[in-house]
């Protein structure tokens, strides 16, 4: 038995006088006629955040959320209810509501729960208690003071620290049983600088499924601060970005937002089952340049986007989405896998017990290529180099996607020259990916700040890529 099952059951079930032995009985409430699949998702999540601004630790907050989500599936139909009260009677009522979507059919047997095998990818310790409150406050103050001392042009410094400790227990009618304890921490620094009446902001952060000590190792927290300041100062000198279609070189790491938007969402199983994605029905076809091999990997230790086991009790894996330009597979949760006749890939994720699971990305990245990054820049006569990006968005049906730059430069005659202001870039996923003409040998993953939104649900994700060149994409500046 997984060593996490007992502590998780102790935290989630014991206060209601329930135990692991009660799970088959509780599931039985869901197993009405016509129900093909069903699950219970118990969750207890504690969150804290501390914010420093104006040189003082102004705010701190603590949040406790606890509940159970009850789901019943009949064919393509899903019934769902949840309750904040973990107990027999509220669960019975939620089960009744959830299974009301099925009216007739066979009654599935409740399989005896057996726990799903998976290897834990992160520690189970509570990050909130891994550092004293005194030390958290002292860390924020130290970073603030050290940052302000770096440059007289600094007007504002905002530093924040946040941690989550999540206990989940999922048990399904098909017998799957899994428990997980998930830590997640994050540190951010934002700096506003002013020079000759002009102001700019820079920000940087990082984190992962680990403890706060991560930010002290190699003085990472101060590294974020230096990077935020550097970016803000670069932007003070920025000129208008050009407007029009140009070659664009994307730096390694966080620029993987490109893949998340241009490719990732379009390869989520639900959109492809429904035929609403620009990638629907294209398995085996060439959808990107042969230089592109893209994976979604939930199994990277301590990464923000990683999960030992997904929110439906499927062990995560490394799924090859695109191999040498050819579409290989989609990311699946249980429902879409069942309806498409394939296996789940460990991508069934949900924001919380109060939300339905669906196929979501974990850590999505492109494997390294052969080119030297310097050689990639040198190959561009006139274009843009994007060192860092902001957020992005995609319309998976038409394939259109955008992302915005937060640190970018002109490339002129193969050399990086003036910084340019933030601009939005827009393209069509399947088209743009065929225009990847060079891929660097410098694969890097992001620092652990990504949050992905879909159907109103947010989940932490990771992205990554080597430096790469797009032969043409539309750059939305105001300049010539």
């Amino acid at each position: 038995m997984s060593e996490l099952l007992l502590p998780v059951a102790e935290r989630l079930l014991a206060p209601a006088g329930l135990g692991l032995d009660d799970l088959p009985g509780l599931l039985g409430e869901l197993a009405g006629p016509g129900i093909d699949a069903a699950d219970l998702y118990f969750q207890d999540q504690v969150t804290e955040s501390w914010v420093l601004e104006d040189g003082i630790v102004k705010e701190g907050s603590f949040h406790l959320d606890r509940g159970v989500g009850v789901r019943a599936l009949a064919g393509e139909k899903t019934g769902f209810a949840y309750t904040n009260a973990i107990g027999r009677e509220p669960l019975r009522q939620a089960a009744q509501a959830a299974r009301s979507i099925a009216r007739a059919g066979q009654t599935a047997r409740v399989q005896t729960p057996a726990d799903v095998a998976f290897a834990p990818l992160y520690g189970a310790q509570n990050p909130l208690e891994g550092m004293s409150r005194e030390d958290k406050v002292a860390l924020l103050k130290r970073i603030d003071q050290a940052t302000r001392a770096l440059d007289p042009r600094i007007k504002q410094v905002t530093v924040s620290l946040a941690g989550v400790w999540d206990h989940v227990l999922v048990v399904a009618l098909d017998g799957g049983l899994a428990a997980d304890i998930r830590p997640l921490v994050r540190f951010n620094v934002s700096v506003i600088v002013e020079q000759n009446g002009r102001r700019e902001r820079g920000s940087q952060g990082g984190g992962g499924r680990t403890g706060y000590a991560f930010f002290l190792d190699d003085d990472r927290a101060m590294g974020y601060a230096r990077e935020a300041l550097r970016q803000a100062l670069v932007n003070l000198e920025a000129v208008a970005a050009p407007a029009g279609t140009l070659p664009v070189v994307l730096g390694s790491g966080w620029s993987g937002v490109l893949l998340h938007e241009a490719v990732g969402h379009g390869l989520e199983g639900d959109f492809n089952r429904k035929g609403s994605s620009a990638y629907s029905g294209r398995i085996g076809q060439s959808v990107a340049s042969p230089l592109c091999t893209i994976v979604d990997d939930g199994t990277l230790a301590d990464r923000r986007g990683s999960l030992s086991v997904d929110d439906e009790g499927t062990a995560t894996q490394c799924t090859t989405l695109i191999e040498s330009g050819v579409l290989k597979g989609y990311m699946q949760d249980k429902l879409n896998a069942r309806l498409m006749g394939v296996r789940p890939t460990g991508n069934g994720r949900r924001e919380s017990y109060a939300h339905l699971p669906m196929p979501r990305m974990t850590n999505t990245y492109m494997l390294a290529g052969q080119s030297d990054p310097a050689e990639i820049i040198a190959s561009v006569k006139k274009g843009i180099y994007c060192a860092s990006l902001g957020g992005g968005q995609v319309d998976i049906t038409s394939g259109k996607f955008v992302f915005s730059t937060s640190e970018a430069y002109l490339i002129e005659d193969g050399r990086i020259t003036a910084p340019v202001k933030g601009a939005t870039l827009i393209g069509n996923g399947p088209e743009v990916m065929t225009r990847v003409s060079m891929v660097g040998n410098d694969l890097a993953l992001d620092s652990g700040v990504g949050t992905c939104g879909k159907d109103g649900q947010s989940v932490p994700v990771g992205v990554g890529q080597p430096t790469l060149k797009l032969d043409a994409i539309t750059v939305g500046g105001t300049g010539a």
Binding site: K58, G60, N84, S100, Q156, I192, V402, T478
Partner: protein, 448 residues
């Protein structure tokens, strides 16, 4: 489920009692001041797709949050729990944070003398007695109308009927306590049109405090279908500088950016390009922006703000001139100004409508881009620089020529506000910001 009857005016007394109990507990544990909010919400969401039920979701959320003070130090905590033990522990968690927070000279509740005295009934609570079966029927009718509207509608991405009701109470240790119930119902339809290998999707929706006031399901479905079909064949246009007409639906976002830029939080953090712009003329002289917080059934109506202050009608922009920031008690203190009773935001904003309908605005524009879709978050509030993905229609001789996609529009918000040429009479009412379409003199469109 079991305690459904708590939501609605009859349950507000109990909610207020809970607020008072939590404030009392905070005092008992040693807080010098505190403010508490308690909420209880329930809802039903049903989605159909391709003429079948896809999901039926029953939502029920409860929770409370407390911000408490130890002198000038502050801590907050919240939970979805509701037991007496949860109350004790949550208060203790907030206190533990306050003990470690820094002294902040500006922190604290608003003066007792400023708290709202009256709480007018804003007619926000209209529960909809609709069963899941009836909700599904309405959603199916909506989607069916969309499929019937055009043969190029080949697929659907979900039609949802949502109905939610909730109660909220807020109180603080300066003697204020308020509570109200509200409802929100919506019907939305997302359709996919397909022709010559191109897929396009678009949507339409309506939202209201009153279920019966929603647009007819068939009308919503037809609009969603028409919008999706009208995007078929969309293509980029060459890079150019032209006038841009923002549809009313998107123009709400332009004024939303404006409100963010004049909000106290961004101003005192030196994070807004409109810092110090009070009394400056930012818009054309004919344009005013005013807040009407007591609008009956308004989507953002409120009798009191997040600090317990009485909300009141006022202009933020009068004849083009910025005459008030958007301030809470805290941000006001930081800026040395009184609160404008906008803790938590602006409660229904109205832009001066013009007399021209959308067709007249297209004629006035002559040649340019009519934008009906925006993508991404390409706004830098520190500088006002604006660059976003866009879709819509190319206009020549005052008439729509063809659908456009995969372009960006860019400018600076300060220039864009000054260059507003006209606001249409086609006022968007499904938003807390009421505006017609907005015609802007000139922006950079980047494309092929």
């Amino acid at each position: 489920m079991s305690d459904v009857e708590e939501i609605g005016p009859q349950g507000l007394g109990e909610l207020k009692d809970k607020v008072a109990r939590i404030i009392e507990e905070a005092k008992r544990q040693g807080a010098t001041a505190s403010e508490v909010s308690v909420s209880l919400e329930q809802g039903l969401s049903t989605t159909v797709r391709q003429r079948e039920i896809e999901t039926v979701e029953f939502n029920r959320d409860q929770g409370f949050g407390i911000t408490l003070y130890l002198g000038q130090r502050k801590g907050s905590a919240s939970t979805s729990g509701s037991s007496e033990e949860d109350i004790r522990q949550t208060v203790a968690a907030a206190l533990a944070i306050a003990r470690h927070a820094s002294e902040d000279a500006f922190a604290g509740l608003a003066d007792a003398s400023l708290m709202a005295r009256e709480q007018p009934d804003l007619d926000l609570y209209h529960p909809w007695a609709i069963s899941p079966e009836q909700a599904i029927e309405l959603a199916l009718a909506c989607e069916a109308a969309a499929f019937e509207a055009d043969p190029r509608i080949r697929n659907a991405d979900g039609t949802s009927l949502n109905t939610h009701s909730g109660s909220r109470a807020y109180g603080n240790s300066n003697g204020f306590i308020g509570a109200y119930s509200s409802t929100r119902h919506s019907l939305s339809c997302v359709m996919i049109a397909e022709d010559q290998g191109q897929m396009q999707r678009d949507y339409f929706y309506d939202v209201s405090r009153l279920g019966d006031a929603l647009m007819a399901p068939s009308a919503i479905g037809q609009r969603a279908a028409q919008r999706a079909v009208s995007r078929l064949g969309a293509r980029p246009v060459p890079t150019c500088e032209v006038p841009v007409l923002f549809s009313a639906e998107l123009a709400t976002g332009l004024f939303g950016h404006f409100l963010a830029a004049i909000s106290g939080g961004n101003l005192y953090r030196n994070s807004s390009f409109l810092e110090g712009a009070l009394e400056q003329v930012l818009f054309p002289e004919w344009l005013s922006l005013d807040e009407r917080p007591h609008l009956p059934r308004g989507l953002a109506s409120a009798a009191y703000d997040g600090d317990g202050l009485a909300t009141y009608a006022k202009p933020f922009v009068d004849k083009g001139r910025l005459c008030s920031y958007v301030l809470s008690t805290y941000s006001g203190r930081k800026l040395g100004m009184p609160s404008t009773a906008n803790a938590g935001g602006v409660h229904n904003l109205f832009a001066t409508p013009g007399s021209e309908d959308q067709a007249a605005l297209l004629r006035r524009m002559g040649r340019g881009l009519y934008v009906t879709e925006l993508m991404g978050q390409g706004l830098n509030l520190v500088t006002g620089d604006y660059s976003r993905g866009a879709g819509g229609y190319w206009v020549e001789n005052g008439e729509i020529q063809f659908p456009v996609q995969e372009v960006t529009i860019a400018g600076n918000l300060r220039d864009m506000f000054r260059q507003i040429v006209a606001i249409g009479s086609d006022v968007e009412t499904r938003s807390s910001i009421h505006t017609g379409s907005v015609l802007i003199e000139r922006m950079t469109v980047a494309g092929s």
